[in-house]
Amino acid sequence: MIINLEVEDRNGETQTVELPTEVNLNLMEALKASGYNILATCGGMALCATCHVQVLRGLDQLPAAQNEELDMLDTLPDAGFDSRLACQLKVNESLDGIKVKIRGDEH
């Protein structure tokens, strides 16, 4: 299936992004593939926190963060209760309709 989510970049510009769920990507990979500038130092192991996103809408519909993700978020100066690591969110129906703001380091 195709899901839609709204993505706000670092400049505050918002666009709707369409993503297929069959490709087995995580949100960090999907955002990179959609042209967003995300450093993703560790490549998706929840070990660097550079794919930090703020979930502006739909936080409750996401699967709960695991300890290693929460642990990594704890190291960030600007993380809030609505922060997630995009690499830990699988692109599936749980992301349909959410809105995220990109917060992590650029490269």
Binding site: L39, T41, C42, M45, L47, C48, A49, T50, N67, L70, D71, D74, T75, L76, P77, D78, A79, G80, D105, H107
Partner: protein
Amino acid sequence: MIKTDICIIGAGPVGLFTVFEAGLLKMRCHLIDALPQIGGQLSEIYPQKPIYDIPGYPEIKAQELVDNLMDQIKPFDPTFTLGERVEDLEQQADGSYIVKTSDGTQVHCQVVAIAGGLGCFEPRKPEIEGLEDFEGKGVAYMVKNPETYRDKKVILAGGGDSALDWTIYLADIAEKVTLIHRGDTFRGAPDSAEKVFDLAKEGKINLILQSNISSISGNGHLKNVSVLGKDKESRDLEADYLIPLFGLSPKLGPIANWGLNIDKNAIEVNTFDYSTNVERIYAIGDINTYPGKLKLILCGFHEAALMCQSAFKYVYPDQKLSFKYTTVYGVNSF
């Protein structure tokens, strides 16, 4: 001044393997890395994670690969400068280079190999106005010498392992330790978290949760730190030192200023020999880019081998390079 044939910037897996390929051609190497230990990302970010795409190893832990590379290059006696960032490359009249670091170390070499991965790992800085003005004047992003903080008022900020560990350590040294954390729990090492809560209960440290630093001030040296709680309550704390500990993030850093062609924070190279647009400067591994580039350790190893073949002409301008197999000739140490 340190003298070598190839100065390698970056002591990650690709930088380390370059020593081997250079050694086979009788070229000596000196490595410089901004991190205090060798191994680059492998040691800094994911030492215990398995890697599955190193030829010949169905599975190997990242740190194990680094250790094996160190064994492999031992015959070629590489030298290291760790914990220093390369600031400048200065070309000499004869074409050779002097590489200069942040701490004043100088390395004279014929060839520079940039194997800098994603750049230098630098401390992540919280967004606090004027923070950088107090760097070295009360604000530090790592604890270099704990004795600096003896009998001082120290504020730490952060919720990760290093924030917890240093809070515990400095509790015995400093006059007063305050830890400020955005959340109300610590999910890092549970033992350290428990210890921090115990110290707070005993009144040995001041623990401020669900709060962020809103501003800092001082007159030439840090004096005050203002903290804003989630409940919008603001408080002012006296401080001699502020140590924000929010992990490390890679930055390209001074590499951007060396006249190299750069595309999206990567150095453009010629895939013939991974040379840059500047003669005698090569770029290999994750830091370079070319059509079809894949950021894989194994690709970096390949790039290192080809680069060394090309670098030979600068180190031994009068000699003809003859390619030899290790199986036939073995590995002849220096």
